[in-house]
């Protein structure tokens, strides 16, 4: 069989023999460990489409919780060649790789400012992205030697932020908007873009919007270069910033 996506190539999980469809899974059911629990676990697996279900382990994880390790065979098969794979944005780069690349290709530290703007006092998002500690084991932008990142905190006025961007010749500005009552986040976010345009620096700076109710499309609508929603890791933002700065220099991030 050839490697890659040949049309008509059907793949299934491979346990012990090709196409046997064997999968292993584990889960907990919120019931005491007894024969009824065992039957329930097997039924859950069957309803997931597994056949020849085997309960390999059933252990009481607590008084009313039972832990299962289950094997079974799935009949699910995938036409490997016919899959439509969505084009991915720039692949997130590792910390060291990105720093080395940015310092080499940009030749200086990239200036990044971040803030919660307007009346929004919820610094949770901007802190998760900017602070040294980072988020979910992914270090924050302050930690990147290739970035000169500064978190201005909460309730920063849009005009003051835009002015600071101009003074510090910032390459990127991160705006976090958490509060969304009556669409206050949209109005507030738009105002920063207007201020950047008023100062004539909109084209020299990458404007990024983030928050629990933000997605990429909304950010573009509001005049930003990118939007990041919940669960975003700092490294995704860092990679995007380096890519944007390189593009302005006529280079590409590979």
């Amino acid at each position: 069989m050839t490697v890659g996506g040949e049309p008509g190539q059907v793949v299934r999980p491979y346990g012990d023999r090709r196409d046997d469809g064997v999968v292993q899974l584990s889960f907990v059911l919120p019931v005491p460990a007894d024969e009824r629990a065992r039957a329930a676990a097997a039924e859950v697996a069957r309803r997931m489409g597994l056949e020849q279900v085997q309960i390999a382990a059933m252990e009481p994880a607590a008084d009313r919780y039972t832990f299962f390790v289950v094997y079974g065979r799935t009949s699910a098969a995938v036409d490997y060649g016919a899959l439509q794979v969505a084009e991915r944005p720039v692949r997130r780069k590792g910390f060291d790789e990105l720093n080395a690349l940015a310092l080499r290709e940009v030749g200086r530290r990239i200036v990044v400012l971040g803030a919660c703007t307007g009346s929004d006092a919820h610094a949770v998002g901007i802190d998760a992205i900017m602070n040294m500690k980072g988020f979910a084991g992914d270090p924050g932008l302050e930690r990147y030697p290739c970035l000169d990142a500064r978190n201005l905190g909460a309730q920063v006025e849009n005009a003051a932020l835009a002015r600071l961007c101009a003074e510090r010749r910032a390459d990127a500005v991160l705006v976090s908007q958490v509060v969304t009552q009556r669409d206050v986040h949209k109005e507030n976010a738009r105002r920063l873009v207007e201020e950047l345009e008023r100062l004539g620096i909109r084209k020299e700076i990458t404007a990024i919007l983030g928050g629990p109710r933000i997605d990429h499309r909304l950010a573009l609508e509001l005049g930003y270069d990118a939007g990041f929603g919940p669960g975003t890791r700092p490294s995704e933002v860092a990679t995007f910033i380096v890519g944007a700065v390189l593009r302005r220099m006529g280079k590409e991030l590979h």
Binding site: S26, F27, V28, E59, A61, A62, D63, R64, Y65, F67, A123, V124, D127, A128, N131, M132, K133, F135, A136, G137, P139, E142, R143, N151, G153
Partner: protein, 523 residues
Amino acid sequence: MQLPDGRHVPDLRLDPSRVERCRALADAVTAPVLELVQRHTTVSIERTVLRLYGMDDADASGVPLVNRAVDALQARGLLDRGAAYWRGYVLRGGPAEPAAVVERLAALPPHPAPLAEAEERELRADLRREARARVDALLDRVRRRNALRDELGVGASPLRYVIVATGNIHDDVEQARAAAQAGADVIAVIRSTAQSLLDYVPHGATTEGYGGTYATQENFRIMREALDDESRRLRRYVHLTNYSSGLCMPEIAFAAAWERLDMLLNDAMYGILFRDINMRRTLCDQHFSRRVCALADVVIHTGEDNYITTADADEAAHTVIASQFVNESFAHRAGLPDRLVGLGHAFEIDPAREDTIARELAQALLVRTLFPGAPIKYMPPTKHKQGDIFFSHAYDVMADVVAAVTGQGIQLLGMMTEAMHNPLLMDRYVALKTSAYVARAWRSMGAELALRPGGLVERRANETLAKALALLEEVAADGLMRAIGEGRFADIARTEDGGKGLAGVVPRGPAYFNPLLEIMETR
């Protein structure tokens, strides 16, 4: 070496004069910081004093009354006399109901009329008496906690520590009970992301949080009561811990003490380095919160493990040791005995390298040997965890083995899904089951093993100690704040007047009055 709890660990030969010198230098490092602390108060310290007097409610919009009171005093430039004094001042002839006290504090003129000497004396005596009564009530609650612990007994060391972090305190309770049933000795309720940067303690029971559950006094109460109940059912005392860190260190320490928590994470260095909290603010707050912990018999945990989640764990091993000496000195200066000083460190060397166990063992044994009376807190691998949960599980088992052999006091168990999500119920179960196996299987090996003189482990431990000593020499010469400014810890540099919360630091005036501090300082 035999530990106070009876366990044996392999003997590690260290140069005692080096250890002595490290302690002397650490004391030299903390002395000028203590002078600074003794000249200042903070908004959070003053809010704690008001909480002692029973001001623990919030207004209709959810703002804690203590914040409204202290903000009003600070706006009028009155905080340098201490919030307790002004509370007494407005109490004369008015109702003691907290909301009314806040209204009257907010109505004070910038220069309130001074009291006659006799009235002033009487006011202070009344406030002292009331503080004493409230402290006695607190100590009663602490005694109740300790009596339950003594009656039921605790699990074998290391105490096995797991986290819950659902965001909803009621779900946390359910998961904490399940973890206790599976063998957990300590439950940590992880706080909502970046609560450390809130300059107030949220109020009431909470059911929503980002990546954790808000630390509130009511959440503390709910969880401790559930664990009391579960402890009685299991006939084994289950401990509760939370975070006295960030901008509200002292208030959280007080709320936790009142609600009978057993342990608290408490480390100014963590706030400075990882949350960019102003160092003057957090060093003042840390001292006060540690005094509260000393008063209420709460074990503190320090955060040195975090250094090696950013800096390289192998290269930065000595920064952990140096910081532990400093933290020990700060703890002693706040009145904490060794048995309450849970110094932190971690198993974090990149597993792709060779001989990592020799180095991890050297580090864990070094910490254990340097601080024999402290309940050392050992953190599991996190930085190099992978989506391959089977590998991650094997990796955690190595940490379990090192913890067993080196006699750690409190062990946070690694979760095989560390790199992926908050622990699932089954992740905790598997971690507890496996660590119990390791503890059982390695029971007597700490007493059986002897290190080869001049071998890899002994050499590595002594090298690390020598580097820690050199770092402490530098820090003692430069001062702690400048050393932090130069990025000597965790590769992170912070400035003395940078970071969050500096505006909340207030020089004490000549008439500064803090009856809670007086009680804690003269115990």
